[in-house]
Amino acid sequence: MYMNERLLEIFQRSRSGTYMTETEFDLRVAKRTQELVKAFEITFDPQMVCPSDDGMADRVFEAGVQLLVDVGAYHIDTGRVIPFTRSEIMGALRQAPDTLYLGEGQDMVIATHRDVEDPNPPLNLTGPAGQACSEEIYLANLISYAQEPYVHAIESGATLTYNGQDIVAGTLLEVKAVQRDSATAREAVRRVGKPGMHIGDCATGMTAIGKMAASEPINGLRPCDGRLVAQMCELKTNDDQLVRIPHLRNYGSHIINLMTPLTGGIGGGPQGVAVVSVAETLFGVLAYYATYHYLSITHIKWTNNSDPWGMYVLAMAGQALARNTHIVITDDPFNMCGPCTDELLYEVAGHSIIGSVCGYTQHGVGSTGGNLPDHHTGLEAGFQGEVGIAATKTGLTREQANEIALRLLPKYQDTFENPKRGKPFQEAYDLKTITPTQEWQDCYRRVKDELTKLGLEFEQGPYD
């Protein structure tokens, strides 16, 4: 099916598909996922957070395809299920891009599909990852990301206020805030001398109106930038998400399929969530025309993915998609601890190592479970990029990645019930020079030393 025809067909199906309540759909997804986990013999061993089983990776892919065929996707506004056939899924996958040109001019980077244990290092498309930011320090915060040598694109945070007033979704205040924040992101990349750097999204915009308000080729987001189109947990969409697609395609923008599958949620345990993650990626290929995919695995209790379940889902969904498709997939580490703690960097490292060997381009980083405003800085994002490059250049296998990840887990896992939230950007950086404080730089060096002892070969970093 050709692209325009497919978009219109999805609209029709969202109006004519089988009607059911949202709860009925949730339970249907849950039941079928567990059946497929069993039928495809997908197993989880807490000592194998990054399995090296090609056969199982392929089975996770097949189970993901089957799940989407069997349950479809739910349209929340109409209560209809949008069905897909296997041949439609495979046809859309064939049409999906394997190479992306992100940004423009001298600052453009080329993201290509990555294989399992790919020798080419991953790009690092990063930023505050949609976390809450204060408007007063937003520009400085974004500069802290854009200036990092191992950062190739920035994605924005979500500011809380506009001129001191709470931003209200779907109102003119959201549009005003999006206009301001996309211009702020543009200013941040200009200030660090990378005016053409790819800007992944303007996360202050939550509704379609907000997202579309960022489209402005001089001061806002350009066609070489991107915007998120999200899925609701699990395999759900609505008109507010779908309406963005014709706009973004017409504008020529990158479309980023945002998924936040919940471990312990509708997909159940990690095996089921790996299957759901594959199905959601395929839905993003089919319905969202995504140029790249953003997997943000979320633990139902802690809202992180640095735990063994999150690592396993990352590893298995990544390998499944790397081995069976040619698309570009990204992942973000979402962590419990915050800036100025060693624990945050260990959480980032474990995720980055697994992501790098399992076919991902990097995205992120989330800190404090995404709960505390301003608890995110450029340092941990740049560090993620460094670790990804080190893991690739060291030539880590999945077995080695598993071994290192298991050795990193005890360094932070005990903090989950009482996380070290660290310090906000305003205290972790000198705001005049936009430089990490000595304390934060010391954490960076300590953790890098430890990772070096575990076998990672680093290049010169910004705070060595």
Binding site: T23, A30, D166, G170, C233, N238
Partner: protein
């Protein structure tokens, strides 16, 4: 005459059905128990509430996942409906621990957290009026008035939707119902400081904490 002591095999059937989230079996077990003359209140207090509370605890400890919690909640609600119907036929009414109006605020379509809190509240014997997601402030208040609620619970996940909680708090004050309906708030974009700023009566970062908050507000009533 209604029996206060529940035979072990009757209780066990209902417990198993609730734990497994088997709605039809749970309803059948409830009907059988009522037909056998078991006192409805005993059935609720000694079997349904403790079982669903245990299911909630298992979810909190991650021994089970969200679908199991949802299925148990659905089965529990179906059993309550059977009991309520039975009592109405007898001209009596069912006692509940309290009534909570719950919803996700305007602009926010994320409702998993809200659904978990609703399930846990039901498990603890509350009547829950779930108004859904993306709901404007006035709907919280209208629902509270209609259902004679004891507490309003508003949830917001996204940072730019948390203002919806403020709108509920402001409207409650404006229409003079602030003291009648205590407001609790929760969700990823909120914290205690914001809850204090908007004048909410409680905030919890966890679903179990939200239930404790409601308990405490009910005690103060």
């Amino acid at each position: 005459m209604a029996k206060h002591t529940i035979p072990k095999e009757v209780a066990e059937k209902l417990v198993v059905a609730l734990q497994k989230g088997e709605e039809a079996n749970a309803v059948a077990a409830t009907q059988a128990a009522l037909e056998a003359g078991i006192e409805p209140l005993s059935l609720i207090q000694e079997v349904i509430v403790p079982t669903l509370t245990k299911v909630g605890e298992k979810f909190e400890n991650l021994d089970i996942f969200l679908p199991e919690l949802m299925a148990a909640g659905i089965a529990g609600t179906a059993c309550s409906a059977v009991i309520e119907d039975f009592l109405m036929k007898q001209g009596a009414s069912m006692e509940v621990a309290g009534t909570v109006v719950i919803g996700t605020v305007k602009g926010d379509i994320h409702d998993i957290g809200k659904n978990i809190v609703a399930s846990l509240l039901k498990a603890h014997g509350y009547r829950v009026i779930d108004i859904g997601k993306d709901r404007p402030a006035k709907e919280f208040i209208e629902a509270a008035e209609r259902s004679k609620a004891d507490v309003i619970a508003a949830s917001a996940l996204m940072s730019i939707t948390r203002a919806g909680c403020r709108e509920v708090a402001d409207l409650l004050r404006e229409v003079g119902l602030k003291d009648k309906y205590p407001l609790i708030v929760g969700g990823g974009s909120l914290d205690q400081a914001y809850a204090d700023e908007i004048g909410a009566d409680g905030y919890s970062p966890t679903a179990a904490g939200a239930v404790d908050l409601v308990h405490s507000l009910m005690r103060d009533k």
